[in-house]
């Protein structure tokens, strides 16, 4: 049940820099970690979740309005700061949702600080080296091509972004890509030191994959499932990598029932 008609903007002052976030709703908290190209703002997906939950959508440090930690060189550094964000907001029994690269950060988070988590939701998550295939390398693609490939098809991409992305969107992508490169240029989007740490991570985990995901191979869903003791996989057939944009109701439903 939402008791506010609009989301609120919040700000946290941490020693590592200021964190900006959006928030709406009441109930058990859901924290959503965005893709590598940054948070596009408040989404219908967030509205659906805010009907039942307190939804918090931070800009991860170095993305969007959150200050860049110049020292951070690894997604694990970002995950450590995100554990501080959840602590500073005094959130407990959190459902932590990670989208794509945000899933990589969420998985690292869960290995370090599971005590505040009720559940973990990894959506098309990076973080593990695929046993087969490779994670689509945005550094070797134009912004447009990479984002377009994140959708199930070109028509859906155009429906969201338009024929030509607006200047502010292009700047967001450019800015976000630099931060992404700072922490995961190599190895690109995975950490061989993550999988061994997942084995003792007892947080119930829902792994969601778009059936049309062209960015992170589905093989990774099975690898997460095998590595995490209490995990199950759900596939949303018609979605690509950006499940939250293409199938917001289906994804929100899975998360609320996680």
């Amino acid at each position: 049940m939402t008791d506010d008609s609009a989301y609120r903007e919040g700000e946290l002052a941490l020693a590592t820099g200021t964190i900006k976030y959006l928030e709406q709703g009441t109930g058990s908290p859901v924290v959503i970690l965005h893709h590598s190209w940054g948070s596009p703002g408040w989404l219908p997906f967030h509205d659906r979740l805010a009907e039942k939950h307190r939804v918090v959508v931070p800009d991860m440090p170095g993305w969007g309005g959150s200050e860049r930690p110049a020292w951070a060189r690894d997604p694990r550094d970002i995950a450590i700061i995100m554990t501080r964000v959840v602590s500073a907001l005094d959130l407990d029994d959190v459902t932590l949702v990670g989208l794509g690269f945000g899933g990589y950060v969420a998985a690292e988070f869960a290995t370090m600080n599971p005590s505040r988590l009720a559940s973990l939701v990894l959506v098309g998550a990076a973080g593990l080296q695929p046993g087969e295939g490779e994670i689509l390398d945005q550094m070797m693609l134009s912004h447009r091509k990479y984002i377009e490939d994140s959708f199930r098809d070109a028509e859906t991409y155009t429906g969201y972004v338009g024929e030509e992305p607006p200047e502010d969107v292009r700047q967001l992508w450019d800015f976000s890509r630099e931060m992404t490169a700072r922490v995961t240029w190599k190895p690109y989007m995975f950490n061989r030191r993550l999988e061994p740490l997942l084995g003792d991570m007892q947080v119930p985990t829902l792994i969601v994959w778009g059936g049309q995901d062209k960015v992170v191979p589905f093989e990774c869903a099975r690898q997460f499932e095998a590595a995490i003791p209490n995990a199950r996989v759900e596939v949303i057939d018609d979605a690509g990598h950006v499940v939250e944009l293409e199938e917001p109701d289906a994804l929100a439903g899975l998360i609320s029932n996680a």
């Binding site: 550094m139 070797m140 134009s142 630099e178 490169a181 700072r182 240029w185």
Partner: protein, 443 residues
């Protein structure tokens, strides 16, 4: 004046289709090396070395080498090897490396050792130059682009220290860590080989070069933005408390001389044919802008006026919006003969000595460099094209340019030491120059 010779040593392979107007797409970082022919490579490496020996005989002061990776337009992937060979088979000319790509070295101690060996084998003829590299190099050797500038600066500081500070010592920086720095080789020149910095577009690099009093060499940029970049160097020099001179200015430009105007045009047109540098206006190569313009490689707000140049901007992939705006503002211009266009604005100078020398004079009067390099024998030019030009350079052009330089008082860095008085200045700054490499490397 210091007069040098340069070619990118293109991989010229008529049979692969990547050469000349054969119609096969030359997409940078988009071609497989499956068609690379090492036997042809052997011929070409030896041809280019032979041409350098002849360039020295013809009176050039310097033989410039450069380095690129995973591309057919430049065979100098390991230019230090070519430099080491030249160190042994030439006698007088400086061997000018413009430059080693510092950020892609994970172990710059190797580089310090290699360069010291080259300096010794050549008995002090090495001029070392260091660059940050393009997106291609960051991709090919997988160096993290956002840390390119940090790594450039730290590698520079480390190598200079490895050359000048008695070892053993320890280095614990941000990117480089050594527990035992004590190379058993030291540069022949004291305190170390001259360092020159080539570049095209980064204000950071110009300012950094000026602060270190290193000569800055603009690489085949158009005249007006080149002049503005030199003026920016002068401004930084003034802020640093010294007056920059001609010894701080270097310029590389395309000059080919030939026996007749007809031959000169025929050879000059080859600058834009074949596997010539796809950065360069009018050539047949294509770059993928997002690879050249990797995230964080260059600060977006720190570009030199050269970037206003259509050719430079378009070829480096940073001008997509600019081009789109232009497209909206005006109908597309009629197709131009790029060779003619470039000769008109002196981006290419090709002719007989009589027609070339006045154009070179115009460049010298406009830019007032103390160092120049003639870029020749490139693109689709043959060995014969290059040898005809080198002969005429020796007999006519170099002597005429030396006279001009005297008349215009264009002193090179071996006439006026560009680092003069810098030791005194460094002593004044000593309290800020901590021995801690980590603090020196910070930006």
């Amino acid at each position: 004046m210091f007069i040098g010779h340069f070619t990118e040593r293109p991989y010229q392979d008529p049979s692969s289709g990547y050469f000349g107007a054969t119609g096969r797409s030359i997409m940078d970082l988009g071609m497989s090396n499956a068609s690379y022919d090492p036997r042809l490579g052997a011929d070409l490496y030896n041809r280019y070395l032979d041409e350098r020996v002849f360039a020295e005989e013809m009176g050039f002061d310097g033989l410039m080498l450069n380095e690129h990776h995973s591309t057919p337009f430049c065979m100098g992937q390991v230019m230090n090897l070519e430099a080491a060979i030249l160190a042994r088979i030439t006698n007088r000319a400086k061997i000018v490396l413009l430059g080693n790509i510092l950020p892609i070295w994970d172990d710059p101690l190797f580089l310090a050792e290699e360069l010291a060996e080259i300096d010794m084998i050549s008995r002090g003829r090495l001029v070392t130059g260091w660059v940050r590299g393009t997106g291609r190099e960051s991709v090919a050797h997988n160096a993290v682009p956002p840390y390119n500038w940090e790594r450039f600066q730290e590698a520079h500081d480390f190598i200079v220290e490895a050359w000048t500070k008695p070892g053993p010592f320890r280095w614990e920086g941000e990117h480089y860590h050594y527990r035992y720095v004590n190379p058993w080789s030291r540069p022949y020149q004291e305190p170390h080989p001259p360092i020159w910095i080539p570049g095209v577009m980064s204000r950071n690099t110009v300012a950094w070069a000026a602060k270190h009093r290193y000569p800055y060499l603009m690489l085949a940029t158009e005249l007006q933005p080149t002049l503005e970049s030199f003026q920016y160097y002068d401004e930084v020099a003034a802020q640093e408390g010294y007056e920059a001179g001609t010894e701080h200015r270097g310029y590389l430009f395309k000059v080919h001389v030939d026996e007749t105007e007809e031959l000169a045009e025929e050879a000059g047109r080859k600058y834009v044919q074949g596997p010539s540098n796809p950065f360069l206006e009018g050539n047949q190569g294509i770059v993928r802008p997002f690879i050249q313009n990797l995230p964080g490689l260059t600060q977006r707000n720190n570009l030199l006026p050269t970037m206003r140049s259509f050719a430079a901007a378009a070829s480096r992939g940073r001008a997509s919006q600019h081009l789109k705006d232009q497209k909206k503002a005006a109908p597309p211009p009629p197709p131009k003969d790029t060779y003619v266009d470039q000769t008109e604005k002196l981006s290419i100078i090709s002719g007989t000595p009589d027609s070339v020398i006045p154009k070179v004079r115009h460049v010298l009067e406009t830019l007032r460099p103390g160092t120049i390099f003639f870029w020749d024998g490139d693109g689709a030019m043959s060995h014969d094209d290059q040898m005809r030009s080198l002969r005429l350079m020796g007999s006519d052009v170099i002597p005429a340019v030396r006279e001009m330089a005297d008349e215009l008082d264009l002193k090179g860095p071996f006439e006026n030491d560009p680092t003069r008085d810098s030791e005194a200045a460094a002593a004044e700054d000593a309290p800020e120059n901590s021995d801690n490499p980590a603090t020196q490397a910070a930006d």
